[in-house]
């Protein structure tokens, strides 16, 4: 069971949260100008990091707010929690 620190509610059990996938995927600014390959990259392609991963979580059964987490996908250790729209305080690292 992961213990996740919601920036607003404090440490809570994993099952209060929902996982939101890879963080920092930016929606195309001019969608009509994107090629099919760019759309595929935006919609489907993922880094799927083995190592320190930057990801989004939402406190579904709590305050309902979104935030970013830097979590190691091999050890499950959480290194940082930071706000949506903030730059990551640590760099993603590892393969994948």
């Amino acid at each position: 069971m992961l213990l996740i620190h919601c920036p607003w509610c404090g440490p809570r059990n994993e099952d209060e949260f929902s996982y939101g996938g890879e963080a920092h995927i930016v929606r195309p600014a001019a969608p009509e100008a994107e090629s099919d390959a760019q759309w595929a990259d935006y919609l489907f392609m993922r880094t799927n990091r083995k190592g320190l991963n930057l990801e989004r979580w939402v406190h579904t059964h709590g305050c309902g707010r979104w935030f970013n987490v830097a979590r190691d996908t091999v050890t499950h250790r959480i290194e940082a929690v930071y706000g949506m729209g903030e730059a990551p305080p640590v760099q993603s690292r590892g393969g994948g």
Partner: protein
């Protein structure tokens, strides 16, 4: 050595102490025609069919751990071919047909048990979806039928079919040819067959880099040295993205833990497979008597080969809901594998942006049932540098063209 009643008798005289190893363990050579990365069932099947169907035998299978130690040895061994779309139905049915003849073909008992797979419907929406599915499957010539609650009760008396239960059972689909097989035996039998045809199977050899120049593959770096090769087939399940990064491209794959557990052994009580997508559980009973229980993936992405307890808790709740009789069973072992999940719950089998580098991945929670079929079409793809008709639709390009093959209904909880 051919396994038979006679070899069994002969070896009985020496107290079964002199059986020869089922495959050699050679040191890697400096070059091969084809290198297969990943010694799970799919990689071994690819090597086996490269040798058997295409006479390409200068092949090495490189496995970073031990054979079948990935998802092949961690799965709950359900086999079936009741998929919705034509592309998937044909691919999985091809695999099921191969399974039906595999023990004989390999001279190795894979313990295929076609005990029937039931998928339950718990509400009207489920039931309509199920009828649509069964009809589509039958149109593809694959056995599938619908049972009403009385027929289900007759087949599985211990199932809670009370109309007042929280998730009443309103119907089920049944594929009688579905069932289970011994996962280790599938890996070992294929390894033995490939080895007998000259394939080198090399364990404890991790691929750490993929060398390519001018857009074509040249060889692989490994923990046991550099190996030159003309073609590379990558079949590493949960590690597909890691290998893709070595070659310089990304995949539409996310790696998640998928957990399973077995109970203490009990006398035969559950003779088929029961799955429920709505309450998130499926269960069969192994020949040893253990209940083999699976569910859906852990939601977050991970490479840790273990998951979180809430998933197990929910899965046990669902099991007791369906089978109150199991409420006092103790669980014996629990484990996780890392599954490679695609956005459309269908695999990617084919070419990549690098010439002569082929990927076979994205089987997610349900690739064991496809093992021989996957190897068959992937071997063809590698041998001819062009897909087999059965995997022509399962390209990486489908994520650019939009021609997805959405099998979430067939593969979400049911594996």
């Amino acid at each position: 050595m051919k396994y038979s009643i006679f070899s069994l008798l002969r070896n009985a005289f020496s107290y079964h102490e002199n059986w020869p190893a089922a495959w050699r363990s050679p040191d890697p050579r400096s070059a091969y025609d084809v290198v297969i990365v990943g010694g799970g069932g799919h990689g071994l099947a690819t090597a086996y069919y490269l040798a058997r169907n295409h006479r390409i035998t200068n092949v090495a299978v490189l496995e970073k751990g031990w054979l079948g130690g990935g998802n092949t040895g961690r799965n709950t061994t359900i086999i079936r071919s009741n998929y919705l779309w034509d592309e998937s139905a044909h691919l999985y049915e091809h695999a099921l047909r191969l399974y039906e003849g595999l023990s004989r073909d390999l001279n190795y008992n894979i313990m295929l048990s076609q005990r029937g797979v039931l998928n339950l419907a718990h509400n009207l929406g489920d039931l309509r979806e199920l009828s649509r599915r069964v009809n589509a499957i039958r149109l593809n010539g694959i056995d599938s039928e619908i049972l009403n609650p009385a027929e289900i009760k007759a087949m599985v008396p211990i199932l809670n079919t009370s109309p007042s239960s929280r998730y009443p059972v309103l119907g089920a689909s049944l594929q009688r040819r579905g069932g289970t097989a011994r996962h280790d035996a599938v890996a070992w039998g294929l390894a033995r067959g490939a080895d007998a045809r000259g394939v080198d199977i090399i364990q404890n050899c991790e691929v750490t880099g993929i060398r390519h120049s001018g857009g074509a593959v040249e060889g692989v770096e490994t923990t046991r040295g550099y190996i030159r090769t003309k073609k590379v087939g990558v079949v590493v399940a949960g590690h597909a993205s890691v290998l893709a990064e070595m070659a310089g491209f990304r995949l539409p794959v996310e790696s998640h833990p998928l957990q399973a557990l077995v109970s203490e052994p009990i006398k035969p009580i559950h003779h088929c497979v029961v799955m429920s997508n709505a309450v998130h559980v499926y269960v069969s009973q192994s020949d040893k008597g253990e209940l083999v229980i699976g569910a859906g993936i852990d939601a977050y992405h991970s490479y840790a080969q273990r998951g979180s307890l809430p998933v197990i808790e929910e899965q046990m709740g669902a099991l007791i809901e369906l089978f109150p009789i199991f409420s006092r069973l103790r669980m014996l072992r629990q484990w996780g594998g890392i599954v490679d999940v695609c956005p459309d719950a269908s695999p990617i089998i084919g070419k990549t942006p690098v010439r002569n580098l082929y990927f076979n991945c994205g089987w997610g929670t349900g690739g064991f049932k496809a093992t021989p079929g996957s190897g068959w079409v992937f071997a063809h793809t590698i041998a001819h540098d062009t897909p087999h008709p059965l995997n022509a639709a399962f390209t990486l390009e489908r994520f650019t063209s939009g021609a997805l093959i959405d099998e979430h209904g067939a593969a979400a909880v049911a594996h």
